[in-house]
């Protein structure tokens, strides 16, 4: 029997099987995530169906400019991690380091902009929970609360996923410096990249639903 490669974990027969299993596992996990957010999108759809006016008014109160900037930031970060994925596969560690750093910085920039938006909403009394004062210019302030509750729940959950993503990219940066096993690193960066893209895709749906559809 031939020598087992060092990157091969005991339960697998060969590297192809290991790679296929790792990648498939990540896809199945993302399937779970799709249903996780999917239910939230359904809640949004039902609420919007019931209260279309309040949701249109609410959408006008959000800062579409900052939302657009954030969309651009996040899409660019996806490009960066896609390049990092290719770089790691070619064992171009320097390029991978740059691209992973860019991904991380863009992710943090997104969170900073999002935080700034939250701050603006806090100042303008648009936070309808934790007994904060709530101001609503239109007629149906109660449904307005529902809109902002959903806005904070959805974007908050997305931001939480992005924080996890940033942690993953940090880990990849560290592994990129340390790892002696290219086969293992490739699989790890591939999994992190898939997760990162998923978080982006969620935003691609959140952005128009909350900011643009009027």
């Amino acid at each position: 029997m031939s020598e087992r490669p060092e990157a091969l974990r005991f339960q697998f027969e060969d590297l192809d099987q290991q790679r296929a299993a790792d990648e498939f596992g990540m896809w199945v996990f993302l399937l779970t995530e799709v249903l996780f957010f999917g239910a939230l999108f359904l809640v949004y759809a039902v609420a919007r169906w019931n209260h279309p006016e309040a949701f249109i008014d609410g959408s006008h109160l959000l800062n579409a400019t900052l939302g657009t900037v954030n969309t651009a930031i996040l899409l660019t970060s996806s490009l960066a991690i896609a390049v990092a994925d290719l770089a790691v596969r070619e064992d171009a560690r320097r390029l991978a380091r740059w691209m992973l750093s860019a991904t991380l910085l863009l992710g943090l920039a997104f969170l900073a902009v999002k935080g700034y938006e939250y701050l603006l909403e806090y100042r303008h009394h648009r936070v309808p929970f934790l007994d904060r004062p709530f101001e609503w210019p239109g007629p149906d302030a109660r449904e307005g609360r529902l809109f902002f509750n959903l806005y904070f729940a959805m974007t908050g959950l997305h931001a939480l996923h992005l924080v996890v993503g940033c942690g993953l990219v940090c880990a990849m940066l560290w592994l990129n410096e340390r790892s002696r096993l290219p086969a293992r690193l490739t699989a790890q960066v591939r999994a992190a990249g898939l997760y990162w893209h998923f978080v982006d895709v969620v935003w691609v749906f959140l952005f128009p639903l909350l900011y643009l559809v009027r």
């Binding site: 697998f12 399937l31 249903l35 509750n149």
Partner: protein, 545 residues
């Protein structure tokens, strides 16, 4: 068997360390199965204790043992613990964890560390549940309906919800692991249509876990943020929709019913084939009907909501789709019967449990059809008829299958044989005790006894007395396997590698198996249940008459 005596026999129970630390840090799927088995047994006892208190209270029409408040907490605790901390992980996380890699000829699951992590997540979620219990319990029922759970209930709802939320991720991780393992880890020659039906059943269960559990997770999270921070999503005062909670809850919880029965069907298929010594009748249809049940299970949640105010036409469709589930379920029952037909039947302990399963599942399934008909459901909604129905499926079905499977594979798990007489005795005691407990509930439910009340009018008393008497017998029945199997670990005779003469790769390795399952990587050359062939395995010990 010369080589059995001469070659060393590595054993996963001893090799790899026997200290507590080695067990808690193990990534061996067989050991993780034990971690789960010990944990779910603890929760089964806790949930049973709550049920026994309820049955004692219901012995008399007056509310004398428990206050109404306390009674509410008891049935909530019973439901939450039995559903999420016992039934959902019962077969997949124990027997499934142990057997799937063995049955497909793999060294372990695809992600052994993820498997251990799933148990730690289970334990973490369980800690929240224990905390909620010790701190005084919850009174929302296991369903956590809003706005009761979000605005009015004043028990430890948040802790209980967090416990269920967390434990959900443990079943998601188990599901991912099973799906990837079945797709990618099969031994050479183990094609999809040579998979044992137990693997098919757990595979379908894993798909439901991965697709349905996240919906429950986000739904409970929304209730939690409403309680904790006031972020009202289902709050009717803000124009939110409390009924939407019910839709989302049952979108998970109806498929979860199939999480709680499909693995049992898998176990029974193995047991019936082995103890009738015949091929499973209609293997392809059996596998197909498992997948069909898993698929249809996602389309029927509205039958829990016939009287909730959902549209009558929606109710009609949900009723119709629910009838469709009966088709693959009936295929399974008929095929088990056809497998038994003209088989060389041996009434071993495992077989008695399997036969009990078939009978009780059939009653549970047929009453399910009655409940799926709107006209009947409006009459018996929220009565003991419903309680009896789902206990026939979940206890009569799943717990029977779990115990049957546990006895069947016990020699493989431990390398020991239990006492056959007490094994059979327990199967019969549980069957009788179960029927005595729950059959009267059909009758009083149909007569109008509502569920979730701690006192009742005297006309129902005889039925309640019968039911409580049955519960005591049932409790004794459940203690017997605990004693019998526990005793066998200390004093049981050594089991051969294949005491039942079963086909299947798990019987081709030693009992108990070595750490990486097989001495030589297995190659599969035949279908799953070739009991008819001339060189089919023979029992590795004397079969009782």
């Amino acid at each position: 068997m010369a080589d059995r005596d001469t070659l060393p026999r590595p054993n996963y129970l001893l090799d790899g360390g026997t200290t507590l630390k080695r067990w808690l840090l193990t990534t061996d799927h067989k050991r993780v199965a034990w971690l789960y088995m010990v944990s779910i047994t603890f929760f089964f006892l806790l949930g049973s204790a709550a049920a026994l208190l309820m049955r004692l209270e219901l012995l008399t029409p007056e509310g004398d043992l428990l206050t109404a408040e306390m009674y509410n907490r008891m049935f909530s605790l019973h439901g939450i613990i039995m559903v999420w901390f016992f039934l959902v992980p019962a077969i997949p996380a124990t027997l499934g964890n142990f057997l799937i890699p063995l049955m497909i000829g793999a060294k372990d699951l695809a992600f052994p560390r993820l498997n251990l992590l799933s148990w730690y997540i289970y334990a973490f979620g369980a800690a929240f549940t224990v905390w909620a219990t010790v701190a005084g319990g919850v009174d929302t029922g296991w369903t956590f309906y809003t706005p009761l759970s979000s605005m009015f209930a004043n028990g430890n709802v948040s802790a209980a919800i967090l416990g269920v939320f967390i434990v959900g991720f443990s079943s998601i991780l188990t599901g991912i692991n099973f799906i990837v393992t079945v797709h990618r880890m099969r031994a050479p020659g183990m094609t999809w249509f040579r998979l044992p039906l137990f693997v098919w059943a757990n595979y379908a269960t894993a798909i439901i876990m991965v697709l349905a559990t996240p919906v429950l997770a986000i739904t409970l999270l929304l209730v939690f943020v409403e309680r904790a921070f006031g972020i009202g999503i289902f709050d009717p005062a803000l124009g939110g929709d409390p009924l939407l909670f019910q839709h989302l809850f049952w979108f998970y919880s109806h498929p979860a019913v199939y999480i709680m029965i499909l693995p049992g069907m898998g176990v029974v298929s193995e047991l019936v084939a082995c103890f009738a010594r015949k091929r499973v009748f209609g293997y392809g249809l059996m596998a197909g009907s498992i997948l069909a049940i898993a698929f249809l299970g996602f389309l029927v949640w509205g039958h829990h909501m016939f009287v909730s105010g959902q549209a009558a036409y929606a109710g009609l469709m949900f009723g119709l789709l629910s009838f469709l589930v009966a088709v693959p379920s009936a295929i399974k029952v008929f095929n088990w019967t056809a497998t038994l037909f003209r088989g060389s039947i041996v009434l071993e302990t495992g077989m008695l449990y399997a036969l009990g399963f078939i009978g009780l599942f059939t009653i549970g399934g047929l009453t399910g059809l009655m409940l799926a008909s709107m006209a009947i459901d409006v009459h018996v909604h929220d009565t003991y008829f419903v309680v009896a129905h789902f206990h026939y499926i979940m206890v009569g079905g799943m717990v029977m299958a779990y115990l049957g499977g546990l006895h069947f594979w016990w020699p493989k798990l431990t390398g020991r044989l239990y006492n056959e007489f007490w094994g059979r005795f327990s199967a019969v005691a549980i069957f009788v005790g179960f029927n005595l407990t729950f059959f009267p509930q059909f009758i009083m439910g149909y007569q109008g006894m509502p569920r979730r009340y701690h006192s009742y009018t005297p006309e129902y008393e005889p039925w309640h007395v019968l039911s409580s008497a049955g519960a005591v017998l049932l409790a004794i029945g459940y203690f017997l396997p605990l004693l019998n199997l526990g005793w066998s670990m200390l004093r049981g005779r050594a089991a051969g590698d294949n005491p039942w003469g079963a086909t299947g790769l798990e019987w081709r390795t030693t009992s108990p198996p070595p750490p990486h399952n097989f001495r030589n990587p297995p190659v599969v050359q035949r279908e799953a249940y070739d009991y008819g062939s001339d060189d089919a395995p023979v029992p590795d010990r004397e079969m009782p008459r």
